[in-house]
C-alpha cells in the first residue's frame, strides 16, 4: 500500500495508541477532549443496519457531525438529563487493531489512514450492566503532525436490535 507523505513516521503502533487513548477518554468521561480528537469536518457514526453503505437517507443510532456532537455533550452536561441521573460508568476494551487499505466514499472527507479494531464496552448504571460489542473503523487524517478523526464508524453486532436508551457514545 502507498503511504501518503503526511503519514510518514506514523505507523501501526501510533494508530494503536490513538484508538486506545480515544476509548479511554470516553471511559474517563472527558467528552470535550474526545470531541477535540475529531477534525472540523469529522463525524461519529453508529449504523442501525448491518453493512449499511451510507448514513445519508438511512436510519442510524448516531450520525453526529461536530455540531451535533457538541449538542450531545452539552446535553450530557445538563443538570436535567434524566437518562443519566445517575450517570453510567463504562469500560472499553479495544483489540485486534489493524491498519487497512484506504476505503473512500463520495460522502466521506479525505483521510490518510484507516484503522480497524474490535471494541467492547461494558456500561453500568444503577444495578444493571449491559455489553456493547462492535467492529469499528477510524478514518484518520494527520493534522499538524497529529492524528485526528475524520470518521469513527462503530458497527454493533446487534445494531438492528431494539435497545433501551443509549446515552453515551460507544
Amino acid at each position: 500500500m502507498d503511504v501518503p507523505a503526511a503519514t510518514r513516521g506514523i505507523g501501526r503502533e501510533a494508530c494503536e495508541r490513538f484508538v486506545i487513548d480515544e476509548a479511554r477518554l470516553l471511559d474517563d468521561r472527558r467528552l470535550r477532549d474526545w470531541l477535540a480528537l475529531f477534525t472540523d469536518d469529522g463525524a461519529y457514526w453508529v449504523p442501525a443496519e448491518p453493512n449499511q453503505p451510507t448514513p445519508h437517507g438511512r436510519v442510524s443510532l448516531f450520525y453526529d457531525d461536530r455540531e451535533l456532537m457538541g449538542n450531545r455533550i452539552e446535553r450530557l452536561e445538563h443538570p436535567l438529563i434524566h437518562v443519566q441521573t445517575p450517570p453510567s460508568r463504562t469500560v472499553h476494551l479495544v483489540g485486534s487493531i489493524t491498519l487497512e487499505p484506504m476505503r473512500t466514499e463520495p460522502w466521506l472527507p479525505a483521510a490518510d489512514l484507516l484503522v480497524q479494531s474490535s471494541v467492547m464496552m461494558a456500561e453500568c448504571r444503577l444495578d444493571a450492566q449491559r455489553l456493547f460489542a462492535a467492529r469499528q473503523w477510524h478514518w484518520l487524517r494527520v493534522v499538524d503532525g497529529r492524528l485526528r478523526i475524520v470518521l469513527k464508524r462503530v458497527d454493533l453486532v446487534d445494531c438492528d436490535a431494539a435497545f433501551e436508551a443509549i446515552a453515551l457514545p460507544i
Binding site: 445519508h56 451535533l68 436535567l80 438529563i81
Partner: protein, 435 residues
Amino acid sequence: MPDGSTDTRSLAALVQPGRVHRRVYTDPEIFELEMARLFGRSWLYVGHASQVPSPGDFITTELGRQPVILIRHQDGTIRVLLNRCTHRGVKLLAERSGNRPRLVCLYHGWTYDTDGALARVPIDEGCAPGFRTCDFNLATAARTGTYRGFVFASLAPEGGGLPTFDEWIAPMRRNIDDIVDRAPAGEIALDVGVHRYRFRGNWKMQVENVIDSYHVPFSHASTVNRKGVQFSRREGDAEGAKVVDGQRTAASWKRRRGHDVGHGHGWTSNTELDEGSRSSPAWNEYRQALDAAVGRERAEQILTPRMHNSMLYPNASFMGLNMHIRVIRPLAVDLTEVNVYPIRLVGAPEAINVRNTRLLNVTHAAASFVQSDDIEAFARQQAGLASRQGDWVDISRGLDADEPGDEPGTRCAPSTGELLVRAQFRAWLDLMREA
C-alpha cells in the same frame, strides 16, 4: 374495591373520573386480558404498502400475541396471514422482512401460496383419508382495511358492537392526509429503515405520551441549549424550536389543543411555534414540486399543517412535526417495544427526505436526544407504580373543562391537560369488556 378479579364490573372499577388504578399498568392478568380482548378485537395498524412493493415481499410483526405476515400476493393485493403452519404450528417466517415466491414450512415442507392457500404437502399419499389441502390454508386476519397505503387489521369478525373499518378510521383520515399530502406524488414510503427501542414499562405509557404536551418542557429540558433553543430540527429552519424558555413559548404550549375524536383516537394541534418561515435551496425546490403537483393555494394549506402528533388507538402514532409512524408493541406487562419508521415523501427532493431521516436519528432513535429521556420516564413510572403507597394514578388535569371540537361529537381542550388520556381509558374499558 378493585381486587384481583377481571370481570367487566371489576375492570370498570379501575377506571374512574380523573383517575385509574395502578393495576392497569402492573397486573400481568390484566395484560393477558388486554392481549386477548383489546388487541384481539380492536383495529390495529399492521404496516404500509411501500414495505412490500413487489409480489412475494413480506414483513413479519405481531398483532398483540399473534405473529402475522403482511405479504403482497402474486396478484398484487396485500394479505395479512397468521405466521403459523397449519400442520404442526411451526412459525413459518423468522425474518423481519424478505421475499418468497411461496411460503415453505421448514419442518415438513408444507408449502403455501402468497395468499395463504396450502399448495402442496410432501408425500401426499400418506395423508389421512378425506384430507383436503383447502381445509388447511393459513389463517388470515378476520378483517383488513387500508387507507392511503396504510394497512390495518382486526382479529375479530364484524359485529358484537365493534366498529367497522370506516367507522374506526374516519375521525383520523384527515390526520393521515395531513402527512401524506405533503408528498408531491401524493404518497409516502416507509423504506429508509426503522428505529427500534424498548422500555421497561407498560405499553400504555407510550400511548399516553405521544399526545401529552404537558411533559415536553420539563422532560426534554436537556435538549435545549443555554440560549433556550433546541437543536435545529428540519430542512429550511433557520434555527431550532424554542421549547422551554420565553413567554411566547409558554403561551404556545397553552394554545396547543388536544382533540378527542372517539375510539380512543386523539391528536394534538400545531402552533405557529412549529412552523415559522422555512427557506433553503432544497426547501424551495420541494415547495416548487408541491406547487406544481397541487397548485399554490393547496400547497400553502398543506404546508400549514394542523397536526403536531396523533394517536390511532391502540397501537400507532402518526407524527407531523418530525415525520414518522410509530408502532407500539406490547411484549409483557412491564416491557414494550416501539418501532419508529421515518417517512419518505415520494416526489420530494432527496435532500428533504435525507434531512428528515437524519432528524429522526436525533429525536427518536434509542440513542436520540428526545426519546431517551422518555424511555427513562416510562421505566421510572413502572418502578414507582410497583409501590403500594397509593393505588390511584391521577389523570384529572382539565377534568370537565373540555369543549366541543371542530367535528360533531368530538371534544377538545388544551393539550397540557389529560382529556386524551381519559378518552383512551374510555376506549380501553369498552374493548376490555367480556364478550
